[in-house]
Symmetry: C2
Subunit: 365 residues, 2 copies
């Protein structure tokens, strides 16, 4: 992008700015730290649509509308040595997610495994952040969330599943842990938002209008899926030949893990509830598995690193000179952005300026 369309801002500036605004909007320091850390992780890792770019519209504006309670902490509904059901009390998804995964890790450290599910929660940012918390503690972390309906079932002609991301973090002896963090649809909706800003068309395999016409203009999806008139396709596409049923079934798995154990809203009930009460009542799940119950952690890490190194050393397809492993691109982006900052679109810069003047939080650029 040309410099006229973006402005480079240091990561520390973005981080401190978000923290100060969160305090002004009523969040206590502990919650503000957890939200800030999750959001800045998205910016650092290049998952642009889940950090500062959604800060105003998806978090601050919703707090003002009463859709997110910035001071809420999750409360325990039911607990065993390895499991826990939390009520998110309509607080920040990031707070529920951070506390949820930390509880799962604590249980795994004591009993080998831990699983925490959350009801009555809100958008928790990037799922990968929580799985990485586990990986940093010598655990395999698995987590996911449901989301408003935007994805069709295989052979379906309306949005019913959320993009239902699944994230997995695994310790490794390399500079970064294994980290898979992906929507169970081919593309997340956030990529459509990004393509609108870039003025680009989207791949025809990603989404369709009701009736089946493939979408090329990203605005067509964004305007029509909330009305039930457009939808994304599951990983594997729209046809069983290309494995559509696999992405669809994995998405249902994330839906069940997120909503059926915690008694959260599911599928189109998420949107219905939001229309009725202004609340999302999303569900999440967090699993931690303690590697040391199975094997020495350092030997395990080397084994995972060996697998990654084997991939990188396999023959490459003509036209490609590099094979990436899970989390490698995000790690490289993080190194770059820590040093050089992030090129934010002007719309985001303007949102920051707006928040800055409204909440009287200085913006050092």
């Amino acid at each position: 992008m040309s410099t006229s369309q973006t402005k480079n801002v240091s990561i520390d500036t973005i981080k401190e700015f978000m923290y100060q605004v969160l305090l002004k909007v009523g969040s206590d320091e502990e919650n503000a730290r957890m939200v800030r850390d999750t959001l800045i992780a998205a910016d650092l890792r290049g998952m642009d649509t889940h950090g500062i770019q959604r800060f105003k519209t998806v978090y601050i504006d919703r707090i003002k509308k009463g859709m997110i309670n910035p001071t809420a902490k999750p409360s325990i509904i039911r607990e065993t040595s390895t499991t826990c059901v939390l009520d998110g009390n309509n607080g920040f998804g990031h707070v529920n997610g951070t506390i949820g995964m930390k509880m799962a890790i604590e249980k795994a450290k004591k009993y080998g495994m831990g699983m925490v599910v959350v009801r009555n929660s809100t958008h928790f940012g990037i799922a990968g952040y929580y799985s990485l918390l586990a990986a940093q503690e010598g655990c395999i972390g698995i987590c996911g969330t449901n989301a408003r309906s935007s994805v069709a079932a295989t052979f379906g002609d309306e949005p019913i599943l959320g993009t239902n991301p699944l994230a997995i973090g695994i310790p490794s002896d390399e500079a970064f842990p294994y980290c898979f963090d992906g929507a169970t649809s081919i593309s997340p909706t956030g990529r459509f938002e990004k393509y609108v800003r870039m003025g680009k068309t989207v791949d025809k395999s990603w989404a369709s209008m009701k009736g089946g016409k493939p979408i090329e203009d990203p605005k067509e999806l964004l305007e029509n899926y909330p009305k039930g008139k457009a939808y994304l396709h599951p990983l594997g596409g729209s046809d069983e030949v290309s494995g559509s049923h696999k992405g669809y079934c994995l998405s249902e798995f994330v839906e069940i893990m997120s909503s059926c154990l915690s008694i959260a809203n599911f599928l189109n009930h998420i949107e219905e509830e939001k229309e009725k009460s202004g609340k999302f009542s999303l569900g999440h799940f967090f699993i931690a598995i303690n590697v040391e119950c199975f094997r020495d952690l350092n030997e395990f890490k080397k084994n995972v690193g060996d697998i990654n190194r084997t991939f990188r050393n396999t023959d490459k397809l003509p036209g490609h000179d590099r094979i990436y492993t899970a989390g490698e691109k995000e790690y490289e982006t993080e190194q770059k952005r820590r040093k050089f900052g992030d090129d934010l679109p002007l719309v985001t810069i303007n949102e920051m300026k707006e928040l800055s003047s409204f909440y009287n939080v200085p913006l050092p650029f």
Copy 2:
């Protein structure tokens, strides 16, 4: 298929025949029951390539070659309240899998969660069988296995990952549990074997020759992938645009869960070991999560059923009059085959006749 190419055999006949041959080949009754029950589940569920059709070549012939020990039982290497590492002692994968998942279920019943990993194992048949054992016991079951290299990494030009199936079973209030059981590649190799028998070409998106040429003749893959000269594509295809990296990362997840915790062979070391010692030394993993630690089981089952029923009632794409849910097609095939038997290809009938005369086991057709 015309009747000249197949013969209809009752499921009870296939089941009893496999059991008797297993006893003759040296298996004890307990092992023979576990192997028979897993194999017949594949035949019943329509996963034809994992039952009687592989009975002679993948199990009986390999026992004769000393590659599978028909009397081996798994032994415990390391155990905690929720976790266990088993050595499969080169026995039947089905025995290691059945015992492994049953241990995980037992742990989940006591402590909420259980996870068992296995090293030194062999081909365990359909992964879905084990995840369904958990679902029948009120648990969410998750399992997988690694396998010989046949799938390329994204942008890779040689087979390195196995088809690494992932299976998930979840209790529901419907006639069948949720059951996802799929290779993390678009297609398993077994489907190529089936298309050879049917004289059909395969979809060009499923596999490529080294260099990138798409494969249409299924024999091309089967002959060339063991030599490293052809490979399958991960779920999501060969390009990041269609989500190739997602299938590739999920496949690596199954590889790590199967091999790095149990210290089994991984990636191309599976084939190397087989060449060297005649042993596969595969790894598997089995997870059980006790639903009742989170919520009343019947309410949970109804919730899962409600999700399935919602899918079935959504609008259908023009040209489609039905939306299936995970495990539904397999359940319908099972009902049909229990009643009408299975149409076996003549090559399988001939293998049964051969085994019948060699082991003096009567074949009632």
